[in-house]
Symmetry: C2
Subunit: 454 residues, 2 copies
Amino acid sequence: MPLIFDYTNLLTGAVGEKAGLSEAEIGKLDGTEEKIIREAEAKWLPFRELPYRDEYAKSVSDLARECAGRFSTLVNLGIGGSSLGGNALVSALAGPQGNHQKVSVFFPENVDPDSFSRLLDSLDLEKTIFSVVSKSGSTAETTAQFLVVRDLLISRFGPGGYRERVVAITDPKKGDLRRLAEEDRLRTLPFPDGVGGRFSVLCPAGLFPAAMAGIDINEVLAGAREMDKRCRVSDLFQNPALLFAILLYLSNHKGRGMVVFWPYSDLLIPAADWFRQLWAESLGKRNSVDGAVVHAGQTPIRAVGVTDQHSQLQLYIEGPRDKVICFLAVNDYRTVVEIPDAGIKIPSFSYLQGKTLNSLIRAEQEATEMSLTKAGRPNCKLVFPRLAAIHLGEYFYLLEVATAFAGTLFQIDPFDQPGVEEGKKLTFGMMGREGYEDKLKEFTEWRKRPGKIV
Amino acid sequence: MPLIFDYTNLLTGAVGEKAGLSEAEIGKLDGTEEKIIREAEAKWLPFRELPYRDEYAKSVSDLARECAGRFSTLVNLGIGGSSLGGNALVSALAGPQGNHQKVSVFFPENVDPDSFSRLLDSLDLEKTIFSVVSKSGSTAETTAQFLVVRDLLISRFGPGGYRERVVAITDPKKGDLRRLAEEDRLRTLPFPDGVGGRFSVLCPAGLFPAAMAGIDINEVLAGAREMDKRCRVSDLFQNPALLFAILLYLSNHKGRGMVVFWPYSDLLIPAADWFRQLWAESLGKRNSVDGAVVHAGQTPIRAVGVTDQHSQLQLYIEGPRDKVICFLAVNDYRTVVEIPDAGIKIPSFSYLQGKTLNSLIRAEQEATEMSLTKAGRPNCKLVFPRLAAIHLGEYFYLLEVATAFAGTLFQIDPFDQPGVEEGKKLTFGMMGREGYEDKLKEFTEWRKRPGKIV
């Protein structure tokens, strides 16, 4: 059974005329499907080729096999798209319950001195390998982390031992990390040209940490290829990516400026965080492709089931009608946890005895879905038959293609991120990088304005 | 130096006429401050007494001292308000860099069979103690977790060994957990009557795990008392809770239906998650106190700095003008991490050499703040002089009081959560609890409706 997209509770039949979408409304886009698919495909979309690039899977697997024999821990130095995809794979598929757990993988991302030093202090450096991941090779957070680690490894193991303990994943030809990797004679894997960070999970950036954790990356790619077939169908109601894009676009258009991704599995939390970047950074744009000021975008929120029933559900059910919810449901968890029958006669305990945590979490997901629907709150779900590599491949690819389609619907460019450049330049200026002296000056001036505090 | 609330960048002077709030607009509420304070205080607000309840601190400290001598791990079985406050304290203040780390504390919350069994499998049960926390004593997730753990402990250690390894925190007089604790002769701490879960961090529910982790809970309470003084001042511009409540209320009123809490410290992530429950569940209400249908509320979102600069910042800067941002900034982190000078001449590396991660994370916070402000995106910040117990006490109390004040402004009851009852009943029905047969029937009928999937 494949990954399923269930959109029953987005429709008027489930949540009512006002809150729901009618099939007629959705069908209005009938005939434009071909256009959306063609437009998205007419742009050069290198990410769509990744499931077919066997040479990446091969070089990743070869290097991972070599490293996993020798090291028990991988620390992935990378941020945003250089971390989220790998983390999603490792969290969902590796770990003690997996069959192939080989190496523990950490994804620190942040340059928080407290958490980063705590992680470094906890490592057995002898048995640890680091991947340093940056497409451009100039990401400040990643280069800073790497300088700290590089010094640590050289002072402990000498240049040779350092070289053995680092793999660089960066542009195959250009960039400052590529240059340093060559000077230091590090092993490298390619971060392919034209593949943006948030669309990179199926390239070595996402596949290497997965392979190190013992995940069958070929199965992940096979899942993506299966989904690719489904996403090329021009009948809207048979194409999950097109349907997902259109339903969320219409919801946003009707005032639902937030989409809540709500996994009922702790292991899928990073998969939801991965989507959160994809949807936010791709669609959150000031300008349309025609140059008009549109301030487009829909804010993705990550919740956790059942946990957030005790935190956010009250707001989702009774608060403003400004969000649409997408559950990530799991049919078969990896483990079954029995709730033993201890013969307790107290009402809040007795009914649970002899059941399982599995039936409880499933009942809670369905109860939440039903009570949201009855309250007229539109929701949908992606159903994972189980937490398997093939379904993660389907999941990533479905949402990447849906995001590209949504870019066409929102009439923005889903592949750039112009809004974050200013902050990067200001940081360079404040950190004293050559060529950014004007930015430091600008900041120094700005900071002089009178503050209001209490 | 105390915790500071800096609201400079919410004002017209910083973000412009259209996006900002003018002091006149804020001052319109002038004269009503007394009313808001009086109204909030006229209601019985037991949480406001907690900083002064020395007897709780004493009984918590006594029990924690006894247990921490014998156990190295505490697992807190509780969800929502029975977990978030303790987790926020432990994350911010305990850990390897703290002075007093005694016991590692885990807050599983979820009934995910995969993550819960993984946690149980990783424990050295001999050295582990469990707290089971539920005010009502009937929380399905907590009773289910506890039944699993209870059986594990009894079968391993016998009834006596089980009793030594559990502390129950629940209503002092009533409820099913109180009943079981008495039957099983467990040690207990009180979850005081009238204190809702989300306002419970300063009662034993939050203080016990903190004390077990070696945190000075008296300092936490002292911070809350300091903030209490500041929150009783009737001059709006001198009262941080009133100002926070009014500024967010006005922002929401002007179309900013989201508030992003954005800590620049991984250790403050749970503190932001704690606020996320407080703000969502307190203000997200269908009905006003007068019974009108209002669907009030503002959606709290937790981001992480610097990490989410590579995920959400593009949307926050260029997307819809529908959010207000609140940074959690830290002046002095616990650790200083130097970026060594290795003499690398490559531009993306050389400027960072000889600096610290501390200066980098700080520069990035300020750069993000400045670029948001220049883009006309309102933002404010809570500044922690350092990650110290006193400031966490100030933080919790400020936001709890602000939430109570916001309840008055939104004209809703911030202390109930009627919207989640239906889902709880449905879950009871589906799990076969006596008396909920009609809910099971309702669900079974509902589930028969035709589904739309792809």
